[in-house]
Symmetry: C2
Subunit: 442 residues, 2 copies
Amino acid sequence: MISRVLSAELAEHAGQRVTIAGWVHRRRRLKSVTFLVVRDRSGLAQVVAPGVAPGAEPCAVPGAEPCAVPGAEPGVVPGEETVVRVTGVVTANPQAPGGAELTEPEIEVLAEPTEAPPFDLYRPVVAAALPTILDHAPVALRHPRLRAPLEISAASVAGFRRALDRLGFTEIHTPKIVASATESGANVFGIDYFGRPAYLAQSPQFYKQAMVGVFERVYEVGPVFRAEPHDTVRHLAQYTSLDAELGFVRDHRDVMAVLREAVAGMVEAVRGQPAVDLLDVTLPEVPAEIPAIHFTEAQRLTNEFEPDLSPDQERWLSEWAVREHGSEFLFVTGYPMAKRPFYTHPDPLREGYSNGFDLLFRGVELVTGGQRLHRHQDYLDALAARGEDVGPYEGYLQAFAHGMPPHGGFALGLERWTARLVGAANIRQATLFPRDLHRLSP
Amino acid sequence: MISRVLSAELAEHAGQRVTIAGWVHRRRRLKSVTFLVVRDRSGLAQVVAPGVAPGAEPCAVPGAEPCAVPGAEPGVVPGEETVVRVTGVVTANPQAPGGAELTEPEIEVLAEPTEAPPFDLYRPVVAAALPTILDHAPVALRHPRLRAPLEISAASVAGFRRALDRLGFTEIHTPKIVASATESGANVFGIDYFGRPAYLAQSPQFYKQAMVGVFERVYEVGPVFRAEPHDTVRHLAQYTSLDAELGFVRDHRDVMAVLREAVAGMVEAVRGQPAVDLLDVTLPEVPAEIPAIHFTEAQRLTNEFEPDLSPDQERWLSEWAVREHGSEFLFVTGYPMAKRPFYTHPDPLREGYSNGFDLLFRGVELVTGGQRLHRHQDYLDALAARGEDVGPYEGYLQAFAHGMPPHGGFALGLERWTARLVGAANIRQATLFPRDLHRLSP
């Protein structure tokens, strides 16, 4: 490996001659001195080089055109986004990032950019519109503020896994190519599968349920695909779904308790990430028991009685939960059976209502989950009641024909979580290379 | 949650009355006693119930048909795969699994199977052919020996991530739907993407490279898709790829050093898993430095001089490495440029050869990796030399136009790893719901 210290570790090496490596984040040439700020994965480091001779022309930006810099060897002051290795003496300077800077530098250019970035990566605030950012994602995401949501995503997933690993879950990887467009029937992408029609999986629902019969408790972190014909700030054609399913539950409340642990694990893992400070993210408290209200109570409170909650109702309920319970999370339970998928377990005590729930977070539905049917006959009845053929569900129904415990689970959209957490107006700001109705590249 | 102890914890509760829950793995009715073996995610637990009255008919298997069992309340001895909750007294018995069994049981049926499994799940050896197993995967994988490879997979992935997390890598999730069939041009699945042609990604190669410019070190664990028209024991249409890519390397040897850490982390995570004992897996030692030979030396040793290694050569070389170096892992470095993808970095000292490598493990190529080109002009030249248009690579080339450090990476197929580790003859034995030329369900 190129022997180097990270910028975040610089201060630990005060007085030593060390090597750093990264990208020239910013070059600032003053009369008597040139400041280079070098960006690496840990942050920024300042390098102090001799200044430009009076009257010398500024170097072209970008590029590593040799400029007459008296005293600098080999006389090169590389421009922004040049990849460099810099060896110098670590010198304390309270004004430098991290409290130390490199002086007496030798600068080696590892690679030169051939184009200027679409906007200045070194400015604290991003001066580009979202389409520009998305079209130039490979370089735009180098901006610390644009990279930060993806760091928060990565930490969130690690926290999700850690919480579920602790609870005895097993990680699975399920097929993304499926034979029938079964779960919702609409919004699926068709594939040519060796000359046969097939589809991209909209969720690992059927597989994770089947695996309850094998591992009892499973999770999957993977892509799901929705051919959403909507061009909105909330819809993606591919997103990362955090799915979990567990057996031997009493009912949906046990699923909600596990979800609470998963979300708490995610928040815990994000806490302390530099990205949280950079984006000034206020992390939510996750109550030991997240407040829950029944769907009918949610209708009554909002004085709207449609069979599903509108985005407005969800926003209002979220604010209500903060006001009444001091919680940014709110469970809504008991959604009407008519609005939930056929595998949903009904509420045994309340005709027409289900053991399905949503988890609202900061005004939006973050998670959908619930208890599922577990008896084979109940599946046959549920499909018959919806006028659906058993044929396409044959593989799925096997699990139930061979004995399945009461079980349930949930699915959380990673990008939606990250977007709400960092306060992004558009889910694409929390997505690495988003796919949507119009966007298929980069 | 249903309050229960796991079968593996039973012995810790000697003398107490506890509840377990799981599937009836085996029912054995003797004259004076009936043994129920209950399977849960942690293992097996034995339950001792009063016997069948002399002359009584054996209960039908499967099912929970009430049989006249004197003294049993409510007189039900459930059959195999019935989901049960059993409360009883933990009694030491050296012959029982884990050294303890449940006596004086009360048995509650949570769900009944409606069909018999396609083969006996309780027999230590699986008495079914692979097609039967695959057709009935939701129930077949309940067999502890068939479940075990998937447990080893899950542990391997956890070890992979842990090793790379320690080294400062960031996890990413990249698009699986791409605009052009670029990387190899063949064997891609076509998709109808909102009326436009698109393809399933064969690898996250381009995206992980671009992300070196953002995070320096990235990994992804995710599905990749190959429309392999081959019906072999080695090919899958979807598999789980463990991908990593890192910047600021001197050359491919730094990539190999990181790969060594990742593989060591995988072996470490698998060590101690019950599945290892069950399948009698011999774990490999991962040498502190994995032996490496140059491609030309591999040719010389095997006395074959084709521009790529044949499966026979790979087997021979693997055996040679064990003999000569006591290592089940062997790096072959310096593959000919002509046989590697266009983004491969040439060996600067040896015309025609590359800084690409393979890692052989137990006779097969487990990993492909190498140093990549990092200068924009080198990419333009490499594409021109292969007579390829720059157009489809535009998004990819952005990263290099804006300055990229020397970098490299590797990809490891999870199912292939697991199959070699457990000694499976067919990769489908190490794959959850495999997809291939003929198989699209369950």
